[in-house]
C-alpha cells in the first residue's frame, strides 16, 4: 500500500474563488475603519465586553479548531498509527493556516498592533497571555517547518522554475531547498514532538485565561480544571476537524470518498470525548454547580446546548455503523465542532456576566472581518492543495 500525495492541479479560478474574493474584499473595507477610525466605528465592543467575537471565535475557536494538526501528528507520528498517514499532510497544512489566521486576528484585535513584537521582548511571566503568545508563535514556526517537506517534494532536486525575470534566482532556490531538505530530514522528529508539547501548552493556557476574572465568569465555567478541559476538548475536536475538512475537500474537489479511512480514524473520538465528559462532569459535580444549568438563564441554556452537542456524538460514534456512514460521521464531527465553538463562546462571551445594563452582540463589521479571515483560510487551503502534494493521489 503505497501512499503518494500529489498536487491537484485543477482549474483554480472557479465560481467559489469569486465568492471567497467577495468576502475578503468586504472584510478589507471594514478593516479600513478598524485601523483608521478606531474600534468604535466597526465593533460593538464596550468597557464591559472588551473581548468580542474576534477573540472568542477567531482566536479561541481558531486555536481549538486547528487542533487537528497536533492530534493527527501525535496519533500517526508518535503513536505510530501509519494507517492514517494520508491524513497528516492536510491536517498539518490546515493547522498552519489556522494558526496563521489566529495571528492575523490578534493583529486586528490589538489596539497598538505595531507593538505586537513587544511580547517577544518585554516579558511578564505572570501573564497567561504571555504564555499563549509564545506557544502560538513557536507552534506556528514549527508548523511552517513541518510543511517544508511538501514544498521540497514538489520543487526540490533542482525543479525550481520561477517565471520571467525571477528565473535568475532558480539556483538560489534550489540550493536553499536542498539545505532545507537536509535540515528537515535531520530534525523533523524533534519538531513533531515539539509541536505536540507546544500545543499542550497553549491549548491549556487558553483555558486559564478567563480564570483571571472570578467575579465575571459564570460558575459553570469558572474552574481550576479549565486548562485541562480546554486541552482535552481540543484533543476531541482535532480528529473531528480532520473528518470535517476531509469530507468537504472530497466534495468540493470532486475526489473519491475517504469515508472508510475517516470512519476508522473516528474510533478515537469517543475515547477522547469520554475522557473529556468524565472530567467535565466530575468537575461540575465536585463543585456542585450543576443545578445552575437549570435556572432558566441564558448561561444555563447555553450550557445545556453545549453539553448536548458533546454527548450526542459521544454515544453515536460508539457505533461502528455510524462511523462508517459518511454523512452521519460528518454530522457527528460537526456536532463536536459546534460544541467546542459554543464552549469557547461560553467562556469568553456568554458566560461573562457583566450585569443587566451590559450586553454584546457582534456588529456587521465584526462578522464581515471574521468571514474575511475564514475566506482567506479557505483560499490558502485551495492554493496549498492545488500546487503542493498534500492530498493523496487517486488511483
Amino acid at each position: 500500500m503505497s501512499i503518494k500525495a500529489a498536487p491537484l492541479q485543477q482549474k483554480f479560478i472557479t465560481p467559489n474563488f469569486w465568492v471567497l474574493i467577495f468576502f475578503m474584499v468586504t472584510g478589507a473595507g471594514f478593516a479600513y475603519f478598524r485601523f483608521f477610525e478606531g474600534f468604535g466605528s466597526v465593533t460593538n465592543l464596550s468597557k464591559a465586553y472588551p473581548f468580542g467575537v474576534w477573540i472568542a471565535f477567531d482566536v479561541a475557536c481558531g486555536v481549538a479548531l486547528a487542533a487537528g494538526g497536533f492530534t493527527t501528528a501525535a496519533i500517526v507520528e508518535i503513536f505510530g498509527r501509519e494507517k492514517y498517514h494520508a491524513l497528516v499532510r492536510p491536517a498539518i497544512l490546515t493547522a498552519f493556516i489556522g494558526y496563521f489566521l489566529v495571528g492575523l486576528a490578534v493583529f486586528f484585535d490589538l489596539g497598538k498592533y505595531y507593538n505586537i513584537w513587544h511580547a517577544l521582548v518585554y516579558w511578564n511571566g505572570t501573564s497567561v497571555l504571555f504564555e499563549v503568545a509564545w506557544c502560538v508563535m513557536l507552534y506556528l514556526t514549527v508548523l511552517g517547518i513541518e510543511n517544508i517537506p511538501n514544498v521540497i517534494e514538489q520543487f526540490g532536486g533542482g525543479k525550481v522554475n520561477l517565471p520571467g525575470p525571477l528565473a535568475k534566482f532558480n539556483g538560489l532556490g534550489n540550493w536553499f531547498l536542498s539545505k532545507a531538505d537536509w535540515f528537515c530530514r535531520k530534525t523533523m522528529s524533534f519538531f513533531v514532538i515539539a509541536g505536540v508539547v507546544l500545543s499542550f501548552g497553549h491549548q491549556s493556557s487558553l483555558g486559564t485565561m478567563m480564570l483571571i476574572a472570578p467575579y465575571k465568569l459564570h460558575e459553570l465555567w469558572y474552574t481550576a480544571m479549565s486548562p485541562l478541559l480546554f486541552l482535552t476538548s481540543a484533543v476531541c475536536v482535532g480528529p473531528c476537524m480532520v473528518i470535517f475538512e476531509g469530507t468537504l475537500a472530497t466534495k468540493f474537489f470532486g475526489r473519491k470518498s475517504e469515508a472508510e479511512l475517516l470512519g476508522s480514524f473516528a474510533k478515537y473520538i469517543p475515547l477522547f470525548l469520554g475522557t473529556y465528559l468524565l472530567l467535565r462532569f466530575g468537575d461540575l459535580a465536585y463543585r456542585g454547580v450543576l443545578a445552575q444549568a437549570f435556572d432558566g438563564s441564558v448561561q444555563g441554556y447555553s450550557f445545556l446546548l453545549e453539553m448536548a452537542l458533546f454527548i450526542v456524538p459521544y454515544f453515536a460514534l460508539k457505533s461502528k455503523a455510524i462511523r462508517m456512514n459518511g454523512t452521519k460521521l460528518f454530522l457527528c464531527a460537526l456536532s463536536v465542532i459546534c460544541a467546542v465553538v459554543l464552549n469557547r463562546f461560553n467562556v469568553f462571551l456568554i458566560g461573562m456576566d457583566m450585569g443587566p445594563n451590559w450586553n454584546y452582540f457582534p456588529s456587521v463589521g465584526e462578522f464581515a472581518i471574521t468571514f474575511a479571515f475564514l475566506a482567506l483560510g479557505v483560499m490558502m487551503y485551495k492554493i496549498g492543495v492545488n500546487y503542493l502534494p498534500i492530498l493523496e493521489e487517486e488511483h
Binding site: D109, K112, V192, S204, A224
Partner: protein, 308 residues
C-alpha cells in the same frame, strides 16, 4: 500488532496523566503581597460626600480630559439621572455616582482606580505595561502596551478604559496623580478639590488609622468595615459607608480577601516550574515515538513514506 490498542491506551493514559498533574494538581495559593507602608492612597468617606462633583472637574482639569455630555439622555431614560457620565470612560477617570435607598435618601460614591495592593491588571498584562509604583499608584505605560485589553477583563472593578474611537488607542485610567502631583509633593487633584472633606489623601497606613478612628468616634454614623483594607488582597483606596447602606449597593462588590490573580498565577507557575512539566511530556512522547519507530523498523516495511 496484537497488543496495540491496549498499549496505546496505557501509554496515552500515562502521558495524559502527567500532563494533567502538571496542569490540575490542587492549586495552592501563592504568597500574598504585603502593602508597603510608604504607599499613598485615598480614603473616600461616602457619609461625608455631598455629590458636588468638584473632584470630577478637578480630575478633568488635571488630566486635560474632554467633557462628556449627557444632555438629552433624560428623554431616553424617562427621568433625569444624576450620574454623568453614566460610567467611567476614556475621558472620565473619576466619577461620582448616586445611590438612593428606600427612603429616597442619597448616598454618593466616588469611582476611580483602586490602586490595588496586588493588581490583577499588572498580573494580566502581557508586556508588563501596568506596574505598581513605589508611591503606591498603578502606572500605565502607553509605549509598552499592545492594546490587547486583557487588563480590562482582569480588573474586578472594571476600571481600565479604552480609546474606542481613536486609530491608535490606549488604556486610560486614574493615575493617582503620581507623575503630575505626587512627584512634586502635592496630594491628588480630586482630594484637594473636595469641599466636604470626603476624600482624604495620605499614606495607606495612616488612612487606615484615620478610618478606624472615625468609625470608633461615631459608630452610629458608620458601618464597621473599611472597604479595601482586605478586599481582593487590599487596595490603596478605601471606602466608608453608612450603617444602612451596604457597600455592594454602592457598586463595591462583596469580594473575597485574596487577590484575583492567585489562581491563574499558580497554574502558570505550576506548568512552567523549572520547565519540568513540558520537558517531562516531551521526553515521554519522545520515548513513545522512538519505541514505535524501532518497532516499525524491526517489523520491516509497514508501508508509508519515511519522511517526517
Amino acid at each position: 500488532m496484537k497488543l496495540d490498542r491496549r498499549k496505546f491506551l496505557k501509554i496515552g493514559a500515562v502521558a495524559g496523566g502527567t500532563a494533567a498533574c502538571s496542569v490540575a494538581s490542587p492549586v495552592m495559593a501563592r504568597d500574598e503581597r504585603e502593602p508597603d507602608p510608604n504607599w499613598y492612597g485615598m480614603l473616600n468617606d461616602s457619609t461625608r460626600c455631598i455629590g458636588c462633583k468638584a473632584c470630577q472637574v478637578a480630575c478633568k482639569k488635571e488630566n486635560k480630559l474632554p467633557t462628556e455630555s449627557t444632555l438629552g439622555d433624560d428623554k431616553a431614560f424617562g427621568e433625569a439621572i444624576y450620574d454623568s457620565p453614566r460610567e467611567l470612560s476614556e475621558h472620565t477617570y473619576t466619577l461620582i455616582k448616586m445611590h438612593q435607598d428606600e427612603n429616597q435618601q442619597a448616598t454618593y460614591v466616588k469611582e476611580q482606580c483602586m490602586h490595588c495592593v496586588d493588581p490583577a491588571c499588572q498580573s494580566a498584562c502581557i508586556v508588563g505595561a501596568l506596574t505598581k509604583e513605589a508611591d503606591g499608584s498603578v502606572k500605565y505605560d502607553a509605549g509598552l502596551c499592545m492594546g490587547c485589553r486583557y487588563c480590562m477583563v482582569a480588573c474586578p472593578f472594571s476600571v481600565p478604559q479604552f480609546d474606542w474611537f481613536k486609530a491608535i488607542p490606549s488604556i486610560k485610567k486614574c493615575t493617582l496623580c503620581s507623575e503630575t502631583r505626587l512627584s512634586k509633593g502635592q496630594p491628588t487633584a480630586c482630594s484637594t478639590a473636595c469641599p466636604a472633606g470626603a476624600i482624604t489623601f495620605g499614606k495607606r497606613e495612616d488612612l487606615l488609622k484615620i478610618a478606624r478612628k472615625r468609625i470608633e468616634a461615631e459608630p452610629e454614623r458608620y458601618l464597621d468595615h473599611i472597604y479595601g483594607e482586605k478586599e481582593i488582597g487590599g487596595t490603596n483606596v478605601f471606602y466608608l459607608t453608612k450603617p444602612k447602606v451596604a457597600f455592594a449597593s454602592l457598586g463595591l462588590q462583596d469580594f473575597d480577601y485574596k487577590a484575583v490573580s492567585g489562581l491563574t498565577e499558580s497554574i502558570q507557575h505550576r506548568i512552567f516550574q523549572y520547565f519540568i512539566p513540558p520537558i517531562a511530556v516531551y521526553s515521554i512522547l519522545g520515548g513513545i515515538m522512538a519505541y514505535n519507530q524501532r518497532r516499525k523498523k524491526e517489523a520491516g516495511k509497514l508501508g508509508g513514506d519515511d519522511e517526517y
